[in-house]
């Protein structure tokens, strides 16, 4: 049993924290305010190898692990949740999906470009009528010679428009339900593929969230990811991994809000003493820091299990559920501690509270996480 990060994980934490403080934090408010995708920083992250942390070196990745990847998402989200989710969706939902399910040719073709950040990745499962009920896919893929022809619409797709390659769930045989779902790798330049409406969101406003439109979009059979009819399993497994990333994002938001609150409570004086000297402040923040630390252990344990090749589905669900709810609680309290100032955009906690909410919703709502956890409980 060892709760310490390894030497390389610690050194990585030092690097990514410095990058977050120096490059990401100064533009976080602007990214939010102007709904601006932080292209320059994503390029820098790509150059440093952060866009391919767990991808093996032979596919152009850094050859790190998922614990390191969660450290990256946590530290980036601590100052800018938008930057955190860009890395998370790219790594977990696209790169890992191809790494875990792709053929050797697919890995050779896509992973080096994704790991270097030259290409950005995204994942499309959600549709207007297929949210939590992901099996109700209506995007159809019909076989035609050496290709499949895709028709349909995906919504709420993170990194859409910015991404160069998408992992897309489609229905290849409606009569088979879940077993009729197949995933494909679709390049953004494929004719018949286009980006629809861009969402204006409450939080993570710099992250691009758009609709994907497929109109007779012809995708070669060689781009089928996993087996014909195996797409539901590919999507669920991919989301299990993605949840670790979102849990790390929530953890980062929570820690960031705590950092801001501690700083503020030391400075802010009322009734002749600083807020940090009031026992109400101390007790509330002690409880919250305990939850943040517990979330951190859940996140790292889930990532560690994935690295060890152990089952981690319920662990990822617990990590995401707990970290997301902690982020929401922490950021709400952070605004409260900041009082009127906290409600303004002069302080970052207002943005953090808006950013936190999505972590309870995307990549499986908190209710879905409870379903996954309960499913494991009652399966015995």
């Amino acid at each position: 049993m060892d709760f310490e990060l390894t030497k390389s994980q610690k050194l990585f934490q030092q690097m990514i924290r410095e990058f977050a403080e120096k490059e990401v934090k100064p533009i976080a408010a602007e990214v939010d305010e102007e709904e601006k995708f932080p292209t320059e920083n994503v390029k820098k992250l790509g150059k440093l190898g952060v866009m391919g942390i767990p991808t093996p070196k032979n596919y152009g990745g850094a050859g790190g692990d998922h614990v390191m990847y969660t450290i990256a998402v946590e530290e980036l989200s601590r100052v800018c949740a938008t930057t955190g989710v860009i890395v998370s969706a790219h790594t977990s939902l696209c790169e890992d999906a191809i790494l875990d399910n792709g053929t050797e040719e697919q890995k050779q073709k896509y992973l080096p470009k994704l790991a270097s950040g030259e290409w950005i990745g995204a994942f499309g499962l959600t549709e207007p009528n297929a949210g939590t009920d992901a099996s109700a896919q209506q995007t159809m893929a019909v076989e035609d010679g050496d290709d499949y022809i895709l028709n349909g619409t995906k919504i709420f797709i993170t990194n859409a428009g910015e991404a160069d390659v998408y992992v897309i769930a489609t229905m290849t045989d409606k009569s088979k339900g879940n077993k009729g779902i197949t995933t494909f790798i679709v390049e953004a330049t494929t004719p018949g593929f286009s980006i629809g409406k861009k969402e204006h969101k409450m939080g993570i406003r710099g992250s691009a969230t758009c609709e994907l439109i497929f109109e007779n979009c012809r995708v070669p059979k060689a781009n089928m990811l996993g087996k014909l009819g195996g797409g539901f399993a590919v999507a669920m497994k991919t989301l299990d991994g993605g949840r670790i990333g979102i849990a790390a994002q929530a953890l980062g938001i929570a820690q960031g809000a705590m950092d801001e609150t501690v700083k503020y409570c030391k400075e802010r004086k009322q009734f002749g003493k600083s807020l940090s000297q009031f026992q109400n402040t101390q007790f509330q923040l002690a409880d919250l820091q305990t939850k943040i630390e517990a979330a951190r252990y859940l996140v790292r344990a889930a990532a560690w299990k994935k690295d060890q090749g152990m089952p981690f589905s319920a662990d990822a669900a617990m990590a995401k559920l707990f970290a997301a709810e902690t982020a929401m609680e922490m950021t709400t309290k952070a605004v409260q501690f900041h009082g009127g100032y906290g409600y303004t955009r002069e302080y970052p906690v207002e943005r953090m509270m808006r950013d936190a909410k999505i972590t309870e919703i995307y990549e499986g709502t908190s209710e879905v996480q409870r379903m996954v956890i309960a499913g494991k409980l009652f399966k015995k």
Binding site: T6, K7, S8, L11, F12, E18, F19, K57, A62, M68
Partner: protein
């Protein structure tokens, strides 16, 4: 071409405390970092490596845990790392340190030696220049810019108290670099992963040809009279105004504080 960079692991002095009895730094619980000027020096070396394919060796003298700054240097792009560590080096002042480092240099091929101007835990700025003297090498201190001119030639910008000097230098030479001139690159993730798989060469006094009387405490004439932490001041506010407006601001502020 071979470039050797001297780096030092230092306590992050923004959080350091001083033992009032022993007059030494209390290192426990203080994060250790690569000395900022040395990091700037390493950045210069790595930029030269990109321009002319130099081989970059980093060397540090310190306790075994100083190995970590060498790993960091690997992750930034250094090719070879040497840790000079032994009880024989303990208690070294700048003279003994520069003697040990000069001894190591005689055992390493070099065309250029780069150090930071000074370390944030001692602020002496003596080790680089002393080492240059021991090795009979020309030296340029306070380097903020360096242009590679082919062969082993450089055009170097050196900061002075009231401006700067530009010098043409032929190596081998010693440059001491200012962090303000070279913003160090971030470590690369793959470099971090590989940094702990690579070999750091551990050298002792056996590996260098220096008389034992010139090393460690024995070779150190310096005695520390008193050490004290820098008084921290509030960050303050910076105004960039025309003189007339500035006067108004100053007067308003002084009135606010009841100074006038």
């Amino acid at each position: 071409m071979n470039i050797v960079v001297c780096v030092k692991q230092v306590p992050d002095t923004t959080v350091v405390k001083i033992d009032p009895v022993k007059n030494t730094l209390i290192r426990e619980g203080v994060p250790s970092i690569m000395n900022p000027d040395d990091k700037g020096g390493l950045e210069l070396a790595l930029q030269l490596k990109e321009k002319c394919g130099a081989n970059v060796t980093v060397i540090t003298m310190g306790p075994p845990q100083a190995d970590l700054v060498l790993r960091e240097a690997f992750a930034m792009g250094a090719d070879r790392a040497i840790l000079l560590t032994s009880r024989a080096f303990a208690g070294a002042d700048t003279l003994a340190t520069s003697n040990a480092l000069a001894g190591a240099m005689r055992a390493i091929p070099y065309d250029l030696i780069i150090t930071g101007r000074q370390a944030i835990d001692g602020d002496t700025a003596q080790v680089g220049p002393e080492m240059a003297e021991h090795l009979h090498l020309p030296q340029v201190s306070y380097v903020v810019d360096c242009e590679y001119k082919g062969g082993n030639n450089y055009r170097v910008k050196k900061e002075t108290e009231d401006g700067y000097e530009i010098l043409d230098v032929e190596g081998p030479a010693v440059f001491t670099v200012l962090a303000s001139g070279y913003k160090a690159r971030y470590m690369n993730v793959r470099g971090i992963v590989e940094a702990f798989e690579r070999e750091v060469e551990v050298w002792t006094e056996q590996n260098i040809d220096v008389d034992a009387s010139k090393l460690g405490l024995k070779g150190s004439p310096t005695k520390v009279k008193q050490a004290f932490p820098k008084q921290t001041k509030a960050a303050g506010q910076v105004y960039e105004l025309e003189p007339e407006q500035a006067v108004d601001v100053i007067i308003t502020k002084m009135k606010e504080k009841f100074i006038i």
